[in-house]
């Protein structure tokens, strides 16, 4: 017998059990998952009937065959868990259901795993080959056009025979049959197919891309979060592929085990990922997640190996449980710690857990009326978006951090530069002050020792009862000489030895001319020496001035030869100054001529002060004359 149902029902599944809960769940999940085309299409479909029951001949492996009326959707795995077998369904379609206008068609879902369809005794379609597990027709919807010629015209019901073969644990059975106008069923079929395929392909591709991206990030950064997501995403690909791929080249039930293991990995790792995102990793929970993961993987394998579907159901229950255990942490993060990411995770996690519960209870166990469409893939897709958002967020934050760091560094560098400049400036000022101080001390000492002592001498002369006019003049001239020496030592060219010597001559020449003394000037080229200390220049000038003054005062000479030569090949390089006169020569007893002796002692001490060697000797044994020889070692720059 079959029953007809012209009511515009949105789902082939019956709304028994907890319709309100079911509707709520349905509305929340499917609205958020953008699911709707198929449902909307069903709602608008006027000219079709749903088949609610069928007369089934069931031949499970290892059990006696039975013939009975079954309600649709009929789940083979529920009736005969862990067994394959054959089933054929007889359905009488009432004559009234035959579409009046255009050609008729059948729309089947969840039918298989392999299927042959007969309409009024004529084979109208096959999906896979009966008993050949290489093809799984139950994964998709099937649209079977029924030619008008095949219909009975005598008012009798149309006889529909569906022969199926099932493999164990493969979700076989007969979920729904819709019969009606082909013109109205085709768009429905297309919408369902395209939605189903599109969503599965979009999810699979997204998971692959994001899994790959996360894997790449993990390779570069070794961040467990990315590694975990990469594994989770890649393991989620198998399930989505499986939804739209009827001819998987892996034999059943091995493929079933692969998909189940991947699914377990997907769920378990997503749970771990959530904790990593929250950065809340209580060891017991982490261990529990891995334990649950290992257990459910084991159960999945055992389930398919031992043909015990309950084991895999248990595995799913464990995964669901561990997901629920994680939820409080997410909720805490969202509501107590007020973290935005935790809020997003809470939404996604709640949806995933509800979807998981839906899939487990309704799809897997068939409770509350059962359901054929799983929601978990849709809910899990949110995690892909979360990861994408997370990567974007982290990247933006990194960029922002870097620019902030750059700005900070630049500011600190500028600050340091400022400090350094300040310190440098201070040091420069200090050095400058120090140099000025030293120079000032030197000038004070020179004025005191030079002009000062001459003026003191002058004072002694003028305070005598009858000062000798010529002696006074002599003293004044000496004081002027001293003053000129001191000023010359401040000339900007005082670091140039030839110019220092030249200046000395320039000052003395008028006096030599007046005394009728010829000066032979023989000054060689002297390279630039190390910054010629003002002190040394002054001492050299003083020594030579003393020597010239001695000649002028005592020697009665007519000719002075000034020879300056450069000895750069000596170590250290040396300037030799030789001053020779043709005068009286050195006195036999220096002590007898006090000023002379005093002058020579001065010359010696000045030479010593600049590290020079001074020799004063008789120039010529016969002709007489005096030679002053000064060797001054100087450093090259």
């Amino acid at each position: 017998m079959c029953t007809t149902n012209r009511k515009q029902c949105s789902r082939p599944a019956t709304w028994a059990g907890f319709p309100s809960v079911r509707r709520l769940l349905f509305a929340v999940l499917w609205l958020l998952a953008f699911i709707g085309p198929a449902q909307a299409a069903t709602g608008r479909m006027p000219d079709a009937m749903d088949v609610r029951s069928a007369e089934a001949t069931l031949e499970p492996d290892g059990l006696p065959a039975q013939v009975r009326q079954v309600q649709l959707p009929f789940r083979w795995d529920h009736e005969f868990p862990g067994r394959g077998g054959k089933a054929s369904y007889r359905i009488d379609l009432p004559a009234a259901a035959v579409p009046a206008g255009g050609p008729a068609a059948l729309l089947l879902s969840g039918a298989g795993n392999q299927m042959a369809i007969w309409f009024n005794g004529a084979l109208v379609a096959t999906f896979g080959t009966l008993d050949d597990p290489g093809y799984d027709a139950a994964k998709g919807n099937q649209l079977v056009p029924v030619a008008a010629a095949l219909h009975r015209r005598d008012g009798q019901p149309q006889q529909l025979l569906i022969q199926t073969t099932m493999q164990r644990q493969r979700g076989g059975g007969l979920a729904s049959i819709r019969y009606g106008d082909e013109a109205s069923l085709t768009p429905l079929y297309r919408a369902q197919q395209s939605w189903r395929n599109t969503s599965a392909i979009v999810y699979a591709v997204s998971l692959l891309l994001m899994g790959g991206l996360a894997g790449g990030l993990w390779l570069r950064q070794r961040d467990a979060l990315y590694g975990c997501f990469a594994l989770a995403a890649l393991s989620g690909v198998a399930r989505n592929l499986d939804r739209v791929w009827p001819e998987v080249p892996v034999p059943w039930p091995l493929w079933g085990a692969v998909v189940a293991v991947c699914y377990a990995g997907h769920i378990g790792l997503i749970a771990r990922f959530v904790l990593l995102v929250l950065d809340r990793n209580p060891p017991w929970l982490v261990r529990s997640i891995y334990g649950a993961l290992a257990l459910s993987v084991t159960l999945a394998c055992a389930s398919f190996a031992l043909a015990l579907p309950t084991l895999w159901t248990t595995g799913l229950v464990i995964l669901q449980a561990i997901s629920i255990v994680c939820l409080p942490y997410v909720v805490h993060g969202a509501l107590v710690a007020r973290r935005r990411i935790a809020g997003v995770l809470m939404a996604a996690g709640t949806l995933a857990i509800l979807a998981g519960a839906h899939d487990l209870l309704l799809v897997r166990m068939g409770l509350f009326g059962g359901a054929y469409y799983t929601l978990t893939p849709h809910a899990m897709f949110f995690f892909v978006m979360i990861l994408a958002g997370l990567v974007v967020e982290r990247y933006s934050r990194t960029v922002a951090d870097y620019s902030a760091l750059n700005a900070n560094l630049a500011a600190r560098v500028a600050e340091r530069e400022e400090q350094l400049r300040g310190a440098f400036e201070t040091m420069r000022l200090q050095q400058q002050e120090q140099a000025v101080l030293l120079e000032r001390q030197r000038i004070m000492r020179e004025i005191h020792d030079g002009v000062g002592s001459q003026l003191v001498g002058l004072l002694n002369v003028v305070t005598q009862a009858t000062p000798d006019r010529s002696v006074v003049e002599e003293h004044v001239k000496l004081a002027l000489d001293e003053m000129r020496m001191a000023v010359d030592s401040l000339q900007p060219t005082h670091d140039d030895l030839p110019t220092v010597l030249a200046t000395l001559r320039y000052r003395l020449q008028p006096r030599l001319d007046a005394a009728g003394i010829e000066l032979v000037w023989n000054v060689a080229l002297i390279p630039a020496v190390a910054p010629f200390a003002a002190q040394a220049a002054l001492q050299l000038q003083r020594i030579l001035l003393e020597a010239f003054t001695n000649v002028l005062k005592h020697a009665a000479a007519t000719r002075i030869v000034m020879q300056v030569s450069w000895h750069g090949d000596e170590t250290p390089p040396m300037v030799r100054i030789v001053l020779t006169d043709n005068g009286r020569g050195l006195p036999a007893a220096p002590a007898a001529d006090r000023p002379m002796g005093h002058g020579i002692a001065n010359m010696r001490s000045r030479a010593q002060a600049i590290g020079a060697r001074l020799h004063i000797e008789t120039a010529d044994a016969q002709a007489g004359g005096t030679r002053v020889l000064l060797d001054w070692p100087c450093a090259l720059p």
């Binding site: 002027l480 401040l490 000339q491 060219t493 140039d496 110019t499 200046t503 320039y506 008028p510």
Partner: protein
Amino acid sequence: MTITQVALVEDDTGMRERIARVVGADPSLALAFSASNATDILNWLADNPVDVLLVDLGLPDHPGLQVIRQCRSTQPACAVMVLSIFGDEANMVQAFEAGASGYLLKDGTEADLATHIRHLRAGGSPMSPVIARQLLRRWQTRTDPPPRPAAQAASAAPYSTAVAPERLSPREFEVLDLVSRGFTYVEVGVQMGVSASTVQTHIRNIYGKLDVHNKSEAVFEARNLGWLP
């Protein structure tokens, strides 16, 4: 004999009087005007031609250099002499650039002033080793690429930097080098194989090349024709 008309600007009264005395004592010189500040002398110079102007660089109202420049532009035939304190030769390079052609040290040797003025009128220009060294550095710095920011070059040439400096000839460089090493003009002439008067001409040309501000060929020729026998 033509009497050389001398004008003087000097803010130190004692110095001014000593110079006036020396000039008055020399029959070939006559003190036409004596001022204590730049404004007075510039006003006077506007209307009265003079042969020699003595300028103190440190005047109270305007820089002495400004007086020199103005005099050179209004009275190109007037020879300007700088009255300088001892040791200020470095700053005299600026005076030469402004157009001065001689200097006198205020170190008690004013008695020789008349000699100096006559010497200057006869075409002689004194040059101390320090000035020669300064000028040598100045031109070496100019011709050296890239120019070193030598302090003395910068301070020595605040006005001439905008004007393309005239280059020295190798002979002029040689003269400067020998003078800076203490050789007299006669000795320089002997070393270079020329007469002392040729050396003097080189020196004068060097000063002329410094006088970039007011220098014109006509003025230079006039000076040559008028002052050189």
